[in-house]
């Protein structure tokens, strides 16, 4: 994989040997593994085969772009998902609920690369409101936020659709429970019943889903960053796969795994906030 025949055929034997030596590939696999693990402890992810640049440096440059996109996507997911999900649950069976359901289904089903192109055609080409792709001078530069909207919408709406369905189901379950009926019987205002009592209790499965989405947002950014030419980690991964830059692929995979672990940890902590009965004993 490291030197596929296409590439090795263009190199002299001495160049191949030099390449193997430079990247430590002349060592036994166990040694290579140990060296890699030692490097990880120092946050040294190795060197890109393609550019000869340290991978950690590339991460430092690209991670902010991915985090900004991921955060914006998550914000959109949660904002739309929770609000629309609650409305659909409270107005169960109404016309609004019947409209929301198929839209949510559609949102889950549409592939993000297609949705991205569609959004560009509408908002950048037809309406000319937003730039089609790119990052400008970063989102904190003047007008930079305009570059963020379309990719964040693309990344966020798929998750929002999932959340709508989950929040609706969870809320319906909670709204039928005795403590909600008691609250209503005691004359608590409906808004408080829904948002203070029901929603908080309905959030446990929703939080689990949001946790998974945090990981997905970083993984999912691979597609969205490619469509919108967003200079983040996802795009770095795709470029590396294309040229078999395996140290980069390996390191991004590790980073993705780490993001899932951290997201799950955050979810566990959040459980305790939403349901005080859950404690780490």
């Amino acid at each position: 994989m490291v030197l596929a025949p296409d590439e090795s055929a263009r190199l002299t034997k001495a160049a191949v040997e030099e390449f193997r030596r430079k990247h430590g590939l002349d060592q036994p696999l166990a040694v290579q593994y140990l060296r890699y693990m030692q490097g990880l402890l120092r946050l040294d992810f190795g060197t890109s085969i393609r550019t000869s640049q340290p991978i950690a440096g590339e991460f430092a440059k690209r991670l902010p772009a991915t985090m900004q996109l991921g955060a914006a996507g998550l914000l959109i997911s949660v904002a739309i998902g929770v609000v629309v999900g609650v409305v659909a649950a409270v107005r169960r069976g109404s016309l609004l609920d019947r409209v929301i359901q198929p839209i949510a289904f559609l949102g889950v089903s549409i592939p993000s690369f297609w949705q991205g192109i569609l959004l560009i055609m509408v908002f950048a080409i037809l309406l000319r409101w937003l730039p089609p792709s790119g990052w400008g001078d970063g989102i904190f530069a003047e007008g930079g936020w305009r570059y963020l909207i379309l990719p964040a919408l693309t990344l966020g709406t798929g998750g929002a659709a999932l959340l709508v369905r989950m929040v609706r189901t969870s809320m319906l379950d909670v709204l039928n429970q005795d403590f909600v009926r008691t609250a209503r019987a005691k004359g608590v205002v409906e808004r408080l019943v829904v948002y203070r009592h029901a929603l908080r209790n309905a959030m446990i499965p929703v939080i689990t889903l949001i946790g998974l989405r945090i990981g997905d947002l970083i993984g999912g950014s691979v597609i969205v960053e490619t469509v919108f030419a967003w200079p983040g980690i996802g795009r770095y991964m795709i470029q590396a796969i294309g040229v078999r830059d395996f140290p980069v692929v390996q390191s991004v995979t590790l980073l993705l795994a780490l993001s899932y672990v951290l997201a799950n940890l955050a979810v566990d902590v959040a459980y305790a906030y939403f349901d005080p009965r859950i404690r780490f004993d």
Partner: protein, 523 residues
């Protein structure tokens, strides 16, 4: 349809008419493409599309015209010895690198040595390996001795990888030079952000005159669909590789397009060593059963040229007469050849031999990109129509190439053959099929073909060369050792705001950017 396609894109092989209007100075042009740079160094970058950047940053000694013929650039003139082993080149005086250093014979020697020392070579810079010695006769006169005569030697010097770099800048920058190249070209390198963009600024002292454009911004956009949308939105002026579908749309919107379909070959490789493919009747049947138009229409919406004789239509060595009569799409003739070879059609739609064995020939095919897979599927369907069963085995590219590279005869029966010639010279096309090329993917052992290709490498005059390559094309048709399909089209698009002439070289077509300008107020 093909002709219509060529007309649609503005003539295909010729020069576009100069755009009307008076050139205006100023403005930054934006170019979009999907290339991922490793770094912007003209010589050591492994990115093929780097050639477009190289033309902006620097110049080579020679250049090519629209027909692929050699023209002077930094070398004003040259003389070759009678034995074709020594070239004396007179270099242009008064040219300076962008750092102010003078361009001279020592700079050429430095540049070529730099290429020679780099372990990774792209064709045709292998020409550097054929150089025996270089000597500066005086600052503007260079003598190059080569190891063996090569009719393409001067053409190869036009390659975009062989553009000049400043020895002075390379000296003081050291390793950093690959990130900040300095050449003689119309635009200076300013900055590069990986995955984002490269910025170039006008070289006011350019030897061909101060460029009209103030600068160039080259954006990396991975999706070709989005590149076309950036053009539509007015945010970009030039797109280098436009897909067929967006190209049609852009044409309707008034963008200028150019099709360059001369430098790559796409074929189905046949392992001539393996039964039943060692039977020429089966190979010829496959050629007759191949509907090239279908490939071009499905994959390129008509924006490609059929490849029939092993030499592309845009090469001056192409013989239209041989191509016209060779293997027209004719399933009846294909069927008759298979009947004659003893493979009879049965009611189940497949062909069987006298022992009852079905005519099944597996095909190893790379699993990406999707367009390539489609090509395999079309071949499978077209062969099914004459009763040949072609199981398509899709594999990773690394596995695919190991399969057919295996010595001595490969493990394959049929497989994909996609290669670039990097040139319109017929020798570059023909040499792909020599048995000694690293990719004798067809595993043929036809001495006559090798002999005629070798003869071509010793033929210096175009008139004689045309006769040699006519014979080569006859042999390709006669032996049917492969199924040539098409030269894929590379479509370049530029907005109506971008004016200027374009020319074509070994890397395809490109605008002469030092003469290009942006129409003021145009959006």
């Amino acid at each position: 349809m093909l002709l219509l396609g060529l007309v649609l894109v503005g003539g295909g092989a010729g020069l576009a008419a100069p755009a009307p209007g008076t050139p205006a100075s100023g403005g930054v042009a934006t170019m979009v493409w999907d290339t991922v740079w490793d770094y912007p160094d003209p010589q050591t970058s492994t990115m093929l599309s780097q050639g477009y950047i190289n033309r902006l940053l620097s110049d080579s000694l020679t250049t090519l015209d629209a027909e692929g013929r050699v023209r002077p650039l930094l070398a004003e003139r040259w003389r070759e010895s009678a034995d074709k082993l020594t070239y004396v080149l007179w270099l242009r005086k008064g040219v300076r690198f962008q750092d102010g250093a003078p361009f001279d014979a020592n700079a050429v020697i430095f540049t070529y040595n730099r290429v020679a020392k780099h372990p990774i070579r792209r064709r045709p810079p292998d020409v550097i390996d054929t150089i025996r010695s270089m000597r500066a006769v005086d600052p503007y006169q260079l003598e190059i001795k080569i190891k063996s005569p090569d009719p393409r030697f001067l053409e190869k010097l036009a390659d975009t990888t062989l553009v000049m770099v400043s020895p002075k800048a390379a000296g003081w920058m050291g390793q950093q030079f690959v990130y900040r190249p300095v050449g003689t070209g119309p635009f200076k390198f300013i900055s590069w952000k990986s995955s984002e963009e490269m910025v170039l600024r006008r070289n006011d002292d350019y030897w061909q005159g101060k460029p009209y454009l103030e600068g160039f911004r080259i954006r990396e956009i991975p999706s070709r669909e989005v590149q076309a949308l950036e053009l539509e939105a007015g945010n970009a002026h030039v797109a280098i590789f436009v897909e067929a579908a967006p190209a049609q749309r852009l044409k309707q919107l008034g963008f200028s397009l150019d099709l360059s379909a001369g430098i790559s070959h796409r074929s189905v490789a046949i392992n001539n060593h393996r039964p039943p493919l060692d039977d020429i009747r089966i190979r010829r049947a496959m050629n007759y059963a191949t509907n090239r138009k279908e490939y071009i229409d499905v994959n390129y919406l008509g924006l490609a040229n059929p490849l029939i004789t092993g030499i592309g239509q845009e090469s001056w060595g192409y013989d239209a007469e041989i191509a016209r009569t060779a293997y027209p799409f004719d399933r009846a003739r294909a069927g008759a050849l298979l009947d004659e070879a003893g493979w009879r059609l049965r009611p189940d739609g497949w062909r069987y031999n006298a022992e009852g064995r079905r005519l099944t020939i597996p095909m190893f095919w790379p699993n990406s990109p999707r367009r390539s897979v489609t090509k395999g599927e079309i071949f499978q369907a077209q062969m099914k129509a004459i009763g040949m069963e072609i199981p398509l085995q899709l594999v990773d590219r690394a596995i695919w190439s190991r399969n057919w590279e295996k010595e001595p005869y490969g493990d394959h029966f049929l497989t994909m053959d996609g290669r670039g010639t990097g040139s319109l010279h017929p020798a570059a096309h023909a040499e792909l099929y020599h048995t000694k090329t690293f990719r004798n993917i067809h595993k043929h052992a036809i001495k006559e073909i090798d002999d005629v290709i070798d003869q071509g490498t010793r033929t210096f005059y175009e008139r004689d060369a045309k006769i040699v390559y006519r014979r080569f094309q006859q042999l390709v048709v006669e032996h049917a050792f492969m199924v040539p399909i098409y030269n894929p089209g590379y479509v370049m698009a530029w907005s109506k705001c971008m004016k200027g002439d374009w020319v074509r070289d070994s890397s395809g077509a490109f605008i002469q950017f030092h003469k290009a300008w942006l129409q003021p107020g145009c959006k």
